[in-house]
């Protein structure tokens, strides 16, 4: 079975779930406003998951993304408050600085992995602690409110408001647009470019990829850099949403949820197989599940149990599929 078929399986489960819940919730689940709410909620998890997908495809992992959300958010907020710029220029400079920081952290994550062959689990675990510590040091442990309002429209604004109003639909929030852009660019990057092919090849068989002349070190490094950049974008969107750079953002379940989205989306933790669109649907499935359980007034502690069961089920199905293939 190829990734597309597995994706079809995920979508089928989604559809059944959606229909079932919608009936149980007397139609409120499929209301456009609710759908938009879910999309807005999954934005951050999806963007983090997309970055994580690249590292997992190399048979690695990035545990530092949550801490990087915190660090980049704090640094961007401090920078925004100290720059004498306004409007678009301010937003652009702050965003680029955040992306550079995320990319740099990703590079540092990758360095010991490619140079010393250290397990990425260790290097990114270390980065997780270092970045979080730095974030608290820089911010003195306090949230940093933005003095400029240039970021407001990005955090809570919407686009195509006129058109959607005409169609009697709710407006799409700007962060959802960011998510769409990240998903599309990264999906094309993975499926259609030489870099993407190289990632899949080295995740599938690193030695074969190396002997085929692929710059294995560089490609692997890029995977961690992209993961860092996605963390910075999520950090930027959180900062814009709350008008604050807070060291506590990203320090909860964010990293684990991102990995869950990747895995539920059909990407193999063994590397070499997976899609970005799959990660989007993984994040969507988790988001819909959350939302549905809220609509159905399911106890929030029980929600965690269900979420855990869904993740386990997704991975178990992957394993069963592998056995089926191996037995042929």
């Amino acid at each position: 079975m190829n990734p597309r078929l597995r994706l079809a399986g995920t979508i089928l489960v989604l559809l059944l779930l959606v229909i079932g819940v919608n009936i149980a919730a007397h139609g409120s689940f499929l209301e456009p406003s609710n759908i938009v709410r879910v999309l807005r909620q999954i934005t951050y998890n999806c963007i983090l998951g997309v970055g994580e997908t690249f590292t997992i495809l190399t048979a690695g992992i990035d545990l530092s993304i949550g801490s990087l959300v915190s660090l980049t958010g704090v640094v961007m907020a401090l920078l925004a408050n100290s720059l004498h710029l306004s409007g678009f220029a301010l937003v652009a400079v702050v965003l680029l600085a955040g992306i550079a920081l995320g990319a740099g952290a990703g590079y540092v994550n990758a360095l010991p992995v490619v140079r010393l062959n250290l397990p990425p689990f260790i290097t990114t675990l270390a980065m997780m602690q270092v970045a979080l510590g730095l974030s608290y040091i820089i911010s003195h442990g306090r949230p940093i409110p933005l003095t400029s309002n240039a970021f407001n429209s990005i955090g809570i604004g919407s686009f195509l408001g006129g058109l959607s109003a005409k169609l009697h639909l709710p407006a799409l929030p700007i962060p959802v647009l960011w998510m769409a852009v990240v998903v599309i660019i990264c999906s094309l990057l993975l499926e259609k470019t030489r870099f993407g092919r190289s990632i899949l090849a080295l995740g599938g068989n690193e030695e074969a990829a190396r002997l085929a002349g692929i710059a294995v070190h560089r490609v692997k490094t890029m995977a961690y850099v992209i993961s860092g950049i996605c963390a910075a974008i999520a950090g930027f969107l959180y900062m814009a949403l709350f008008s604050t750079g807070s060291p506590q953002t990203g320090t909860g379940d964010e990293m684990l949820n991102a990995i869950a989205a990747v895995v539920v989306g059909g990407t193999s933790l063994a590397g070499g197989r997976g899609t970005i669109v799959g990660t989007f649907f993984g994040a969507l499935l988790i988001g819909l599940l959350d939302n549905a359980m809220n609509l159905l007034n399911i106890d929030s502690y029980l929600q965690k149990v269900v979420l855990g069961a869904v993740i386990l089920l997704a991975v178990a199905l992957d394993e069963i599929r592998k056995r089926y293939l191996a037995a042929r």
Binding site: R194, S198, A201
Partner: protein, 490 residues
């Protein structure tokens, strides 16, 4: 095994196959890849259930639903791919899962004693106390055999046991097989090497397209008739005629003072259109030499192609200079099994298909892959097929396609026909001849003596990391090559 049938979705793997093997007898099971040998053996070992048919052991009908059942019935398997724990020593591997115990603790002393007795009984010579991962492939094979013997096997299946062994190790293996026969073990011996059959087998069963075609005693089944039964048509002479190398042909590849782990001061030249065979025992350093030339391992010394020395030593530099390297182990080093035929074919030359921003021109990739599929007659339903689903011979052709896509000037082949069927072998030989005609310089490492002798213009024999002898085609004989390889010659 009587009237065994097995189907997979879309494929009839076995249709009404019957084989029998007597106590103290070696039955050779031969057939092309995809003929059904592996499936039949998986059914016998309980790895897969049969759809139809019955299995009898000592005249009693048995049900084999799991590997555990097979083990209880005394059926032992030695697979092509080893099932050893590389960090464990031979003793721990031999008794894996059935370790002698004293109370709740492992009884290492008893295990040592039993292992020593076991290898003494069968005349197996192997170090018991070193991690098997540090041992040569040949020795690991012996550990694998000892492991099967420790389970008191009555039926032993050996799948291509000599594929990775040198001539001397093969002699040792056959001696062990003879001992087993003497003890009444029934042996099913799967091999692609026709010349072995007369030495080791009593009877031969030929499978083709999931059916048993013919069974005869080895003495009444000449090799050409076996081959004919396997492919269903008469086979031409095994090796094609090599085109003569023009005396004026320029030196294409020059290696001088090459040193690397396992390689000691190697120098040789290959002219355009010449095939040089690297012979020697397993572990002599033949693979290491070609790996060093291809930039796969760190090395010093000079490699010159058409007079231009190679500067840095990475695989991509070697590829850029026109070197193609078909590795020994296609699954571990040659292919990305989870990717398509197309993605594997274009992998080493992605720059050729990359447009702005690294965007891959997928229609150009498809065209190039289709061309290769046609040129190498790769048996795949389409370019999008995952290579994991293809047979060994077809996989090997995908590896070749990957390298030929670059129009290489130097082709390094490490065991190019290991574990592939006769028809695919013949096609690869033809391909080598065609490339030599076009002026490609070819270096071939081979452990199959007939192949080495039949497909090389010149043979360099490697021993202990260095080239110890060189024979022109006319003067190379099995005897003098083996003598040089084992250090027997002066």
């Amino acid at each position: 095994m009587r009237s065994i049938g097995k189907s997979f979705p879309g494929v009839r793997a076995l249709a009404d196959v019957s084989i029998s093997v007597r106590s103290g007898e070696v039955l050779a099971l031969v057939g092309e890849n995809g003929a059904g040998k592996s499936t039949l053996m998986k059914i016998l070992s309980g790895a897969q259930p049969a759809d139809t048919g019955e299995i009898f052991i000592d005249g009693k009908r048995v049900h084999i639903a799991s590997p555990r059942d097979a083990e209880r019935l005394g059926i032992g398997m030695i697979y092509q791919e080893f099932t050893l724990v590389p960090q464990f020593d031979a003793v721990a591997n031999i008794f894996l899962g059935k370790e002698p115990q004293r109370g709740p603790l492992l009884d290492d002393v008893e295990a040592q004693k039993r292992a020593a007795a076991l290898i003494a009984e069968f005349g197996i010579d192997l170090p018991l106390d070193r991690p098997v991962g540090e041992l040569s492939v040949g020795i690991q094979q012996l550990v694998e055999i000892a492991k099967a013997l420790a389970k008191n096997v009555r039926v032993l299946v050996m799948d291509e046991p000599t594929a990775a062994l040198s001539e001397r190790e093969i002699d040792g293996l056959f001696a062990i097989v003879a001992t087993l026969k003497g003890k009444g073990v029934a042996i099913i011996y799967i091999s692609h090497r026709m010349e072995e059959l007369a030495r080791v087998a009593d009877r031969v069963t030929v499978l083709r397209d999931g059916a048993s075609i013919d069974t005869r005693t080895v003495a009444t089944f000449p090799i050409d008739e076996i081959l004919q039964a396997m492919v269903g048509r008469p086979v031409d002479a095994r090796f094609p005629d090599l085109p003569a190398v023009a005396t004026a042909a320029p030196v294409r590849l020059a290696v001088a003072g090459l040193n690397a782990a396992g390689v000691r001061d190697v120098s040789f030249e290959v002219r355009a259109g010449e095939i040089v065979g690297l012979g020697g025992l397993v572990g002599a350093g033949r693979s290491e030499i070609v790996r060093a030339i291809a930039g796969a391992d760190r090395a010093t010394g000079s490699v010159t192609i058409d007079g231009t020395p190679l500067r840095a030593r990475t695989p991509s530099d070697a590829i850029a200079a026109g070197i193609a390297f078909v590795t020994e182990d296609r699954k571990a080093q040659g292919l990305v099994l989870g990717m398509s035929v197309l993605a594997n074919t274009t992998l080493a030359h992605l720059d050729r298909f990359a447009r702005a921003l690294g965007w891959l021109d997928s229609s150009a990739e498809e065209r190039a892959t289709e061309e290769m599929i046609e040129r190498l007659r790769i048996r795949t339903p389409n370019a999008a097929q995952l290579v994991a689903n293809l047979s060994g011979g077809t996989q090997q052709k995908v590896v070749l396609a990957k390298w030929l896509l670059g129009e290489p000037r130097v082709l390094l082949l490490d065991e190019p026909t290991r574990g592939i069927d006769v028809a695919a072998k013949a096609e690869i030989y033809e391909l080598m001849v065609g490339l030599a005609r076009q002026g490609v310089a070819i270096v071939m490492v081979s452990s199959e003596l007939p192949e080495l002798l039949g497909m090389s213009h010149r043979i360099c024999v490697v021993r202990q990391g260095g080239i110890v002898a060189e024979f022109a085609r006319a003067e190379a004989t099995p005897t003098n090559v083996i003598a040089a390889a084992s250090g027997a010659a002066a």
